[in-house]
């Protein structure tokens, strides 16, 4: 049986790597990558150089995606195109439209399609929020006390709602929803890696959150397996173990600067304005959800994933962090 995979969000690191790994799989005939902008180079960062990933420039917010799916007889859709921070041009409104409307269009197209058999959605553990009223460890079926009301986490909650609706309406399609912890690794550029790359690390005074990371290689492997085998359901994905923010700072050899919560936010805004002022647009000020994460942290249970795949991430949370931030001085 031939397999044609559609990957959204291929202009970004993990999406690109997933596309090239799938393209290298002999069991897969075609890999179609879509995104709003062309990928810098699908072969960068040690991914398999492949011209086998066909790039199609599609704005997910438009119904064009349905034509792509219909024309290519796509049977597997890997939806990676969730952005966690407002894009460099355009603000939060654009980000929300991209995340939520984009997913709705994609799912609408999948629902119409007679060929789609498997859908893999990238979500985030941010859907659990961060709060002092919640259990220490979230399993997939834990109902958080308060649903995130801002930004990326809110988008992800809405996206998950549409995905659940889709899964109900098309019970014949295997839908896997993956809630990833923060990606970590040499190739990752996210609000969190930028936050951790600062020369001095502002932290919230009196709080030391528990954090979890998933190494980019492990994330790609999970997505590859999900795209090539049927594992319907929702799965948390994170490296084993936990790091406290204070441990992260110590492992990276950077000084932590504890600030009272209001000053912490202000600092984020100030630095944001400053670096934007000098023309560096990659920086984003701390969002409300990041501030909450930096207070209360978040840890998820990954037993369900390990059981379903019979596999555990190669990198623990600590190893994933070290792969990016470990100081050279350490053995």
């Amino acid at each position: 049986m031939t397999q044609t995979v559609l990957v959204t969000g291929v202009s970004r690191h993990i999406g690109a790597r997933v596309a090239s790994v799938l393209a290298a799989d002999p069991a897969i005939d075609r890999v179609i990558g879509v995104d709003t902008v062309p990928p810098p180079s699908l072969s960068r960062d040690g991914g398999v150089p492949s011209d086998r990933v066909e790039f199609v420039r599609v704005d997910l917010r438009s119904p064009d995606i349905a034509q792509v799916i219909a024309a290519a007889d796509v049977d597997t859709v890997v939806h990676m195109s969730l952005v966690s921070a407002p894009p460099r041009s355009g603000g939060r409104a654009l980000m929300k439209e991209h995340n939520v409307i984009g997913t709705m269009q994609l799912l609408g197209a999948c629902q119409r399609s007679a060929t789609v058999r498997r859908v893999v959605i990238r979500s985030t553990t941010a859907v659990y929020g961060s709060s002092p009223h919640d259990p220490a460890v979230f399993a997939e079926d834990t109902e958080p006390g308060e649903h995130p009301g801002h930004g990326y986490a809110k988008d992800a909650c809405e996206v998950e709602g549409y995905v659940r609706g889709f899964a109900r309406r098309r019970a014949d399609v295997a839908v896997s929803m993956l809630r990833f912890a923060n990606f970590m690794g040499p190739g990752i550029d996210s609000p969190l890696t930028r936050y951790l790359s600062q020369p001095v690390l502002p932290t919230v005074l009196g709080f030391d959150p528990r954090l979890q990371f998933v190494h980019e290689g492990d994330a790609v492997e999970v997505l590859r397996r999900m795209a090539t085998e049927d594992h319907p359901g929702t799965f948390n994905v994170a490296g084993d173990g936990v790091l406290l923010l204070s441990q992260c700072a110590r492992r990276a050899g950077i000084a932590a600067l504890p600030l009272p919560a209001p000053a912490f936010r202000l600092m984020g805004d100030l630095v944001g304005d400053l670096v934007r002022g000098v023309g560096f647009t990659g920086y984003s000020a701390y969002s409300a959800e990041q501030v909450r994460l930096m207070r209360y942290g978040r840890v998820v249970d990954t037993t369900r994933l390990a059981t379903a795949l019979g596999w555990r991430p190669k990198y623990s949370t600590a190893a994933a962090f070290d792969s990016r931030f470990a100081t050279a001085a350490r053995r």
Binding site: H133, D134, P135, A136, V137, C248, R250
Partner: protein
Amino acid sequence: MSGTASELLDFLRRRVTGQYDVDEFGFDPELTDKVLLELIRPLYRHWFRVETVGMDNVPGDSGALVVANHSGTVPLDALMLQVALHDDHPRRRAVRLLGADLVYQLPVLGHLSRKTGHTLACREDADRLLRKGELVGVFPEGFKGVGKPFSERYRLQRFGRGGFVASAIRAGVPIIPCAIVGAEEIYPKIGDLRFLARALGLPYLPVTPFFPWLGPLGLVPLPSKWVIGFGEPIRTDEFTPSDADDPMLVFNLTDQVREVIQQQLNELRLRRGHAFPPLF
């Protein structure tokens, strides 16, 4: 001597470079044993002269639920229970206490509490810890117990909804009734600044014979003599996990545990005698 010096250096290097493990709840066993408990050990040994009774009722390596009375205005009894189970138990057990969510909202207290192995009192966390074979400790009276007036000392308050019993049944672990005598006298609460407490979002704001009159000096706990007793385990393994959903059974068992602890309290209090032995 050089051994201890190099141990200390190793310890410091691990701490400074972040090369130590915390569990998924944020428990940092090394920091707890070497630093945090070390700070309160003088209080345990010399100030309250804590004596433990019936430690052999606490299992050595399997899961169990320690259920204790709560008192003293400031929950020092939780810390003393933790030192007792760590230092006086042959297997040096790390008790995982379940605390109110107020603790986790507060700066400093929230993360210190996680680092010492405590977590939020909720069904998910209790079940998870017991499943892992941890020794879990609860104070079912909560604020009602720790914040009760001095006149009600050694009278157990209501035991919540019995969630702890349901957790023990689900995990099939024994309940160890525990009576803490001595905490009642450390800060005799004779009044409550309700208005100020409400404004600060606290469950109560105590007035004691020394606080707030003596300022910071009034925060020094009185050196009462303490006894912590562990009673015979109450087994739950003859139930099936689904019995945890039978409210009648859960209520009855909750009552039984409460009565046992009240009786233990009465006995230990008699055995201890005066709260301040050298003085009275």
